[in-house]
Symmetry: D5
């Protein structure tokens, strides 16, 4: 079951550079783990913004919630979520 998620990130200006670097490193590790596991299928930057569009493939809304709130930077992320369904015109790959 797929969901399109837009994430807009806004880190507090006062966060020390070291803390930010550590946070981003944790984010990378977490994100790549999910991608390798198959539940995080696409990840694209929004060109020119500190934001991304992601596609998740999960078994339930609960799992989606768990994955997103587990993001190390979740506190600084505004999410917009769209449930997707198979399109009859989509060709098999």
């Amino acid at each position: 079951m797929k969901f399109l998620v837009r994430m807009d990130i806004r880190v507090p200006e006062a966060m020390p550079a070291d803390d930010l670097a550590a946070l981003q490193e944790a984010e990378t590790a977490y994100s790549q783990g999910l991608q390798r596991g198959g539940e995080f299928q696409h990840l694209w930057r929004v060109a020119g913004q500190y934001a991304n569009y992601s596609v998740f493939e999960v078994e339930s809304n609960e799992r989606l919630h768990e994955l997103l709130t587990g993001l190390p930077m979740f506190r600084y992320i505004t999410t917009t979520i769209v449930p997707l369904a198979t399109h009859p015109n989509a060709i098999a790959r």
Copy 2:
């Protein structure tokens, strides 16, 4: 070069059923042709709405314009377009 495109479709209520069927058939053929050609990489329905999210891989904005305005139903579609870029956290597939 990737673009995320949301399409919201609104067909005139007065359109005869046959015209609509012919239009949708043309749309399917056009869409699947682009998908087979590689420029139309993803196509998902928005669950519960007459709308979709699509990802195009094109060589230029001009080509994106050409593809979208070539949609048989273009006149009845409202597009929202986001240029995407590679995300450093995305793993190779």
Copy 3:
């Protein structure tokens, strides 16, 4: 898996009264069938508006899409959809 769906209904002014009555009767039958089947768990009017909030319990986004687009009045309905998850503070019932 639960989804909260808001439906705003707008029927064309020119629709003959008989057609509208038939449409609403079909809507009632369809809606109550889904409710009896367990996938349509809650249905409330928005007080003072031709709109409702509904809660669906479905196995997938695909099924949600199928249920909603199957509404006899779907063409005249604007849907707003929010995926829900279990809340840790909710007590068992």
Copy 4:
């Protein structure tokens, strides 16, 4: 009399972790008390967001106000409130 309430929560970044934990514990106790008492009938998370949808069954707008402003986290919550009414198509349960 039912009301659908969306709550978006935003806790100040500077709040010490202990204070936050105590606040959340108080919120859980308050929320579950209301649920047991029958006035707080449904509580769902918005998947992927620090937000929820709740349905209250109260005798008056005054009581709704009292319940919501009594939330320990009320100060950090943005509420959106929709009065609900019985839907003629809803089946008895």
Copy 5:
């Protein structure tokens, strides 16, 4: 129990003048009946617009829905509804 209701009215341009006059006459009779009955407590025009703000005092959301959907012009009215509560600073009258 009070509700503030904003009504924005938009009558179809094609409605014959006689029909419109009859509709407005029915609206006046209905509105004044409710006002005399005590459930429709205030009615003000929005200066410079075909719109009004109304305050209803009803026993339930169901009754509010019944009153509003009973308006002869309901089909042409967009409603915005705010549940009100007693304000502690309000003086008795």
Copy 6:
């Protein structure tokens, strides 16, 4: 001449409790003085929010400005203002 005013209040989180109490006490006194004087005719809470709807009866826009900016909490209030006019369907009271 009547004006409908919505006030949304947002007090700085850092304000000491004593200062807030003093401010609210001053607000109550000011508000009730205007109500007794006849220029502040209605005051209702928005159920479930730190906000109110007020109706003022003043001789001019200048007087409205003077009354509102004189609110002890004015600095923390966002106002939305709608000029009202007599409605021809309103019955005399």
Copy 7:
């Protein structure tokens, strides 16, 4: 007492050219009458749009309502209204 009024005009596409010309002529006469009478103090086009900003000087909201709803094109105009007050920094003229 001054009010700033923005008017956005949208005439039905099907209106015959003669009817439109007659309507606009009536609008001009009405508008200039009010300007000569002193209640309609300023009238500017919004550059590049079928819209204007107007300043009215009237004795009451009721009078403002009367003037605006008396516009021959009122039915095709969307109004946005802001009550103005004297600014302490404004110099006498």
Copy 8:
């Protein structure tokens, strides 16, 4: 060449009262100088808000930019700008 400018002012809460008074004094002097010079033709308060509508008469967009960014409080002002043109229905004064 005329421009309608709305200015919404929001001064930081932490600004010491003396600094604010000095800033407002400078603003008054600057504003009145422009008004006397003829480029700042109208200045009205928005009733009930810390905001104003102003009309500037300048020879170019560059000059408008220069005047507005020269406001002592510019940093705390959100501007909304509408280019105006002569209206054919406006009478000569």
Copy 9:
């Protein structure tokens, strides 16, 4: 003096194809005339939409209004207008 103008075009669905073709031909001729004359400096399509961004260089707001309302398709165009000024960081060309 430069203005950035966004134009969103929406032609009535019922317009006969011949009328539309004639209208578009007139639009092209008008647009290219202005471009050759130097007042219409840039014209770009919005990729994937029936819309454009244009930059005009005119001597006054009145002239801008004259140029835009002279567009053969003006009636079907929604304009959004931003006055531009020279940027100090822009290099000479």
Copy 10:
């Protein structure tokens, strides 16, 4: 390939004047370097606001992202991005 980018700049109020001056100097150098290199083709101020419209000519979305996120003030800039395409009515220059 062209992109229209609007940038709204908001610098933290607490930033020391020296830091701000250094930041703006770096911004100027960076911006002018890109302009000289041909990828940054137009730069205009929004009259009366701390904002600009820019046109970039880049070979890809990735390059656009790289240029924008490289802006020394990027952290304080909100970007709005529109992909442009050649307009058939544009004349050659």
